[in-house]
């Protein structure tokens, strides 16, 4: 079995902890807001628990876990949870991501 999960790093050697605050990007604020809606802190439409969020963050492959930021982990995890709960399907997610990607490319180079 897995004795110590990768995320469970209390007491492990680590680099210096940066104690400075940083500003959040707009997308990070939106992910936070989405999570508050999904766990029912606001809006009254509870779709998941914070414990599921944690479980799916902790299930990230170690290399991905290390390179992701806090809200990167959140958005991957809450998306995974919505698939597990049947709120969205993988196919819907794939098609939406492709749509968003195309939209982004359109913005960068509007003229062909």
């Amino acid at each position: 079995m897995i004795e110590r999960s990768h995320h469970d790093m209390g007491g492990q050697p680590a680099g210096k902890v940066r104690r400075t605050e940083h500003a959040y990007d707009d997308w990070e604020l939106r992910v936070d807001a989405m999570m508050m809606l999904l766990i029912g802190v606001v809006g009254g439409g509870k779709r998941m628990t914070v414990d599921e969020l944690r479980k799916n963050i902790e299930a990230l492959p170690p290399a991905d876990y290390d390179k992701m930021g806090y809200y990167d982990r959140w958005v991957i995890s809450l998306t995974q949870t919505m698939i597990q709960r049947g709120v969205i399907t993988t196919d819907e997610l794939a098609r939406k991501l492709a749509e968003v990607e195309n939209r982004g490319q359109g913005r960068i180079s509007p003229k062909k």
Binding site: M1, R4, D8, G10, G11, D51, E52, R54, K55, R85
Partner: protein, 99 residues
């Protein structure tokens, strides 16, 4: 989060307890570094739906008693160089501790 009938509280403040050594799968609320260590119950925090079950889309009931347990830092960390009186407190669910 408290719901259902009152659970059986097996421990009280002052009780000496030991954290179980276990490594199950899923979402676990007991950090690796404290497993196997002995401490003293500092307070009873109440009873809450079991987060390890909630993480798996179940209701987590019956509610599990939660305790704040006090450990001596020098017992937890090999070669601890701070004061021998330093403590660390963790909140641990009942199913993770034993007498």
């Amino acid at each position: 989060m408290k719901s259902g009938p009152d659970p059986d509280f097996l421990f009280s403040p002052g009780d000496r307890v030991r954290v179980r050594r276990a490594a199950p799968l899923g979402h676990i609320r007991t950090p690796f570094y404290i497993r196997g260590h002995a401490g003293v119950v500092e307070r009873v925090c109440g009873a809450f739906a079991n987060p390890e079950e909630l993480a798996q889309q179940r209701d987590g009931l019956p509610a599990q008693p939660l305790y704040r347990v006090r450990f001596r830092q020098k017992d937890v960390w090999p070669g601890y160089r701070g004061s021998a009186a330093d403590v660390i407190e963790l909140e641990i669910f009942q199913h993770w501790i034993e007498p």
